[in-house]
Symmetry: C2
Subunit: 277 residues, 2 copies
């Protein structure tokens, strides 16, 4: 693992690292914030999955998570949203190909070779983070935004034993039922919708996935709310399944990092409460 | 004044605006954060002047000021660092020309036509902000980073009746004595060093400018510390003049927004205490 940069911030260190990823067959860049801590301490880890078009850099620059992570003693890990590079298939659209990995292992050529973000985030990265940072892998939480909220919900619901806290900002809760998701899941996984269900939070809950609680915030002024995000579908699935969903509809907030940064500390406090409880 | 964008954040509104500036003869873009407030209330204003290469956007995205401004009830205004445009003279270097206005009114051709950032920040912008936002112009503070710290110190020292609070992150305290400043002041103001003294915080204090207090934070790991920033010169001038300088040398911090964002809330609390006192 190569260090791209380290910067001291809020008493801890913001790392940006690059490594040759076996999952994707590409170099991958990620950011890891390690808060101030006692020598030898192992700290809980919160994973943050970003949305369409983003890299690790968006949340690292605009997410305003470091103060809360420093106060709460949380490691914060932000990977990229897809493999990248001239050898990696791409698409002219912003919502498919590079920058739009959708946190799946693609099965459709030519994407099946590199677009393996599910394996990257659930298997390869945890090993890497455990090996290089003072992480207590028995205490992990996961959160994300938009496409990354979809990733956090689906990965969290499929690994309830691993993630004690799962939350999202403006997530795509039912990709099988919205244009962004239908395009991505058909493009990466093919036309058989049965294969999409484990990459759809609402379908996973309908199919029996269970956690005790989820936390979601959603701006009422989000331009993607009605067509792509549809939090009411998650609300209904959670109600039917007995999952305690805390859904905050935030009046006037949009889809941007101005929204995310406003509610980031609340989410991190909720994660810390569950990870330290 | 044209609205470029508005985004809700921390209960208030982050505005980005553009206007045709008479001082510079160019369009200028700035950001203004207005915190949540009671209808009809007039709020204190903190001016933030940015450093070399920056626009309004750097601090707006990375400065992490909105939470503190919302809690403290402060309007936060961030202008650009120079005139810009194809008609504006420029220089290949990052430290002169566009992005490097140094908060002076240039007297040397061809810069004297557009590079009038002193007038822009001290005269034109306050009128604009007072006219368009719920600002209490009797309560103003000013802060800045690096070249913008130089701007905040010099503008503040020349207008002690206007600014009740003056602070800086890693400021250029004595431009007449360091390479960045010698290049910029000779390029904009000509070779007569007497004309530089009102644009040099240390020289201004030596020449009799007085405020009761200044607050400065400086990273010990800042690559520009020894050659360009030299806080010990300000420390000596303040000691000789009886100005209470609070100088925090922050171990391990560099010159970046990771440093600024770490100490932003402290500075804003200090401003609020003086503006509301």
């Amino acid at each position: 693992m190569e260090t791209v940069s380290t910067n001291m911030a809020f008493g801890g260190v913001q790392h940006v690292c690059r490594h040759a990823a076996r999952s994707t067959g590409t170099d991958m860049t990620l950011s890891v914030y390690v808060p101030p801590h006692a020598p030898g301490a192992r700290l809980p880890v919160v994973w943050y999955l970003s949305g369409l078009t983003c890299t690790h850099a968006n949340v690292t620059e605009k997410g305003e998570y470091r103060r809360a992570c420093a106060e709460l003693g949380l490691i914060f890990v932000a990977p990229d949203t897809s493999p990248r590079g001239t050898e990696v298939p791409d698409d002219d659209a912003y919502d498919f190909g590079q920058g739009a990995g959708f946190y799946v292992d693609a099965t459709v050529a030519p994407f099946d070779r590199h677009f393996r973000m599910w394996s990257y985030v659930t298997e390869e990265l945890p090993e890497l983070v455990a090996a290089h940072f003072p992480a207590d892998m028995a205490r992990q939480g996961i959160m994300g935004h938009s496409m990354g909220g979809h990733g956090a919900l689906t990965i969290g619901l499929c690994h309830p034993e691993r993630f004690r806290a799962i939350s999202a900002f403006a997530p795509i809760v039912a990709p099988s039922q919205v244009p962004w998701g239908e395009k991505a899941l058909s493009g990466y996984l093919g036309p058989d919708r049965a294969a999409w269900r484990r990459h759809d939070a609402v379908a996973l809950i309908e199919d029996g996935a269970r956690v005790d609680a989820l936390k979601v915030d959603q701006g009422s002024g989000d331009a993607f709310l009605a067509e792509q995000l549809r939090p009411e579908l998650l609300e209904r699935a959670c109600a039917d399944a007995g999952i305690a969903l805390s859904l905050g509809i935030r009046q006037g907030y949009d889809h941007s990092y101005y929204f995310i940064s406003t509610f980031m500390a609340d989410h991190l406090r909720w994660h810390a409460g569950r990870l330290n409880g």
